[in-house]
Structure formats: structure tokens, C-alpha cells
Amino acid sequence: MAVPRAGSTLSQAGTDAGRAEVLTVRGLSVSLGGREVLHQVSFSMAPGEVTGLIGSNGAGKTTLLRAILGLVTPTSGEVLIAGRPRSRRNPLVGYVPQRLTLDPDIPLRARDLVGLGLDGHRFGAPWPSAARRASIDQALAGVDATHLAGARVGKLSGGEQQRIMIAQALISRPRLLLLDEPLANLDIRNEGEVVALLARIAATEHVAVLISAHDMNPLLGFMDRVVYIAAGRATSGTAEEVVQTETLSALYGHRVDVVHVNGRVLVVAGREDSHAHCDGGP
């Protein structure tokens, strides 16, 4: 199958000489159960940048994040964190997993959950200390969630839980923050608030933020770069470079149209293709 790889040229254009890279993904291929889920994915991220990892469900977004985290072993290619091969438990990487189901009965307060971000991997029970309390308070303040500190996490709304999870990921002061579908299950107002919060964190803390989403619209205007992924192949660049008919048609391997409606972007199957295909729709 001859699919033009627009991504390779675009991503190389993105890796300017002298650009300090927090994350470098180079020629990454991953196979799961004999099926190639990611094929030759390359892109990079710099401090303070917000990057949207856009693609429909099953395109390979979660696998890419898991590969960056070192949870799956690539068949080829490499992942560098701040220029070095990634290791497990890399303190430079913070992670907010997809669709966390926090049981209403779970005996954890918001501040306990944030504390787990600090020392949840250590043996033994957590011991209170003034320093621990202070850094938890600071992390909660960083996501505007000071008032939620004492609340049971399972009773918080989806948006509030997402803030707490972000504080949990940021408390260890990572250089790279990965979020898997953080906007799923949020209403429009919460979507906007969470995205604005992430953009603010990227700018003020100089953290590179990678947000995966099946719908790019809530991220428009906040993304410095886009990694668009379809059927395991990716193309990257600025939103203007990537989200256009030629680039995405090349990525999909068939004609797709990028349509702008009321400031929103729709990616729809092109006329010559009969089967319906829609990404990034409302």
C-alpha cells in the first residue's frame, strides 16, 4: 500500500536546529499481537509547547502515549526524553491516564490523590510532613483546586477530577506532561476550562504538554503543534500545516476534506470516497 508519508517531511521541518527538545519520537513502530499499531511515527516537543495528539478512536493515540511512557516496547524507532533514551519511572514525565473511574466510595481525598503523585510508588504508608503538605497545597493551587483539597475524589465532577489528576501529574515537576483524552466525558464549559488550564501550565511552568483527543476543536487556538494520527501513521506540524486537505488526504491514503464551519474544523471523507468517514466532528 503506497501511502505518501507527509509526516516525515513535516516533522523534520519542525525539528529546527537548536530547538531544545523535551520529547523526541523517531521512526517509532509498535506491533501489538502481530498487528502493526504504529508505523514510523516521528515528532518532537519543546518546553512550553502544547501539542494536540489528534485521531479517531483506535487510531493509535493511547498506544503512542504508552510507548512514550515505556509501557509497550517498540519494534523499531526510539523515544528520547530530554535527549536521553527513556527509562521506566522517568520523573521528567507526568501522566494522566484515560477515563479514570474513581469509585464514589474510594477512601481518598483530593489531596491524598495528589500526594500519590509525589510518593505513590514508594513502599509503606504515607507519612505526613510539613514539606509534603506544602507541595500538595502548591500543586492544588496550581490547578485552581485548593477548595477541593478535603473532598472525596469519587464525589467530584469529571472536570474537578481531571484537575486533581493534573495536579497529581505535576507535583513531581515533570518537563513533559502526557494526557490521554482528558476532555472525554466533559461538558463544553469544563472542556474549555481544562484546556485553558493546560495552556497556562505549559506557559508558566515551561512544561511540554501532549493532549490526546478525538476531537481537535476544543484545542484549536491553544495548540502550538498538532500530531495527527490515522491508522497508525502520523503527521505533525502546526495546526495550519497539518489540518488541511492535502496533508490529511496523504495521511489517510484517500481523499478527505477539511471543512471550516463557524470557526470549527471538520474532517470528512472526500466526494470520490463512498464510505462515510468523519473525524474531529462536533
Binding site: L71, R88, R89, Y95, D105, I106, L113, H121, F123, A151
Partner: protein, 291 residues
Amino acid sequence: MSAIVTSFTGGVFGPGFFSSPPVHVALVVGGVVAVVSGVVGTFTVMRGQSFAGHALSDIGTAGGAAAFLLGISPLFGFTAMNVAAAGVMETIGIRRPRGRDLATGIVLGAGLGLAAAFLFLGTTETSTTGAAVNVLFGSVFTLPTSIVPVIGIFGAVALALIAVLYRPLVLSSLSSDLASARGVPVRLVGLGHLLALALAVSLSAVTIGAILSTALLIGPPAAALRLTKRTGWAIVVSCAIGLVATWGGVLASYDSYYWPPTHHGWPVSFFVVTLVLAFYVLAGAITKARA
């Protein structure tokens, strides 16, 4: 003075309650079991592995019955069987929630088959009905004093496992991916929890019986989780509920020998489970009243 105290307490504590050696053993063993179950069970409920706990208690029946046939303490049978079952459950895929239930169910079926065979042999070959009753419904009043140190050691091992794995257990119960990304050996931590669970279930089985041991393991933590929003407090409350239920059950069972009309005595497990249920319902009512 002491006569007054005796006549006053006599209404609640049956004659000879505090001077009876079997009662002493029952109170000590019951106390250890309540604390171990309360601590381990809190994590079992948080991890959503109540079904594994229930399965282990049923599977342990096979070990308990086999031990009875061999003439050794059922405790060793329960423990050997439960630890083995925990190992098998982990090996055949307890990581994914769905695979977890399947693995548990498959091991449970096999264990119950063995239990049926051993209980059948126990009641027919040895010409006593004691096996089934002891194994299924517990034998806290007939435990030999010599077993107390063993129970203490098994309990200490279970508590030590949980104490060491505390934070990784909480973190991996939220998200195994998140825990893995932080460098937690998720499978090993899960196995550690299952081993602690196997020990807790075995201890609970000798006290209130294989069938009901889950009640003590799941009931108090489930009630505690409704009452408190902190993991540490949930453990404390769960142990307290377990202690009140177990000691209350021992007392009520002892007293029931003096109850009309039959003066026959009721099983400890019945009272323990009833008290646990009462606490669970009460916790629900308190939660509602607060909201």
C-alpha cells in the same frame, strides 16, 4: 463489690465467660482475625477484588476438608489451598478486570469440585459429620491453644505485606498504567495483595467458617468506606467494626447456650455475620443522613 459487678455483668456475659479457656482462645483468635481482615479487606474492596476474596474462601474449603481427612488443623489446609489458588489466579491473568473475573471463576469451579469430594469423603469415611460443619461454619470454640501462635504468625505476615505495599496498592488500584509508568511492579504488587488476602481468608475461615469468611473480610471495610474519606481511617474503622462484630459474636454464641428453649447454643458465625450486616446497614443510614 465483686459480687455486685458479677451479678451486673452476668446479665450480658454468661456464667464463666471470662474464666473459660476456649473463650480466651476464641477472643484472641477472633481479635487477630478481625484486625487482619479489616486491614487486608480495605484494600481488597478498594481494588474491586471482593469476588476474588469470596472465591478464595470457597476454594479454601477444599484445603480445609483435606486437612480434616489428614487429621491436621484445617488452618493449614485453608492456607495451603488459598495461597496456591491465589498463585494460579495471578498466573492465568488477573490483571485485566474481565480476565480477572474469568480467572477467579475458573479456579473457583475447580476448587469447589475438590471441596465437594473431600467433604464427601470426610463425612462418609470418618463416620463423623464434624468435617462439614467445622470447615464450612468454623470452629472457633474448639481451636487448640497450640494453634494461636500459628494464627499470630500468619496474621503478622499478611499485615506486613500490606504495610509494605500500602502506597503502590492504592496507586495501582486507581490505574495500573499510571502505577506502571511510575515504576511500580504492578503484577508483583497484585500478587502480594492476593497472598495477604489468601492468609486473611484462611484465618477468617477457621474462625467463622469457609462459607462466611468473606463476610468478615468485605463487610467491615465496605461499611468503613461509606463512613470515612481517608484510607488510614477506613482501615481503623474497618478493624473496629470487625472487632465488635467478632467479639460480640463470640459473646452472643457463648450466652446462647443459656437461652431457652433448647439451651443448644447458636453458631458464632451467625452472630458475627448478623452484626457485620447491621453495621453495613447502619453505615448506609449514616451516609444518607449526612447527605
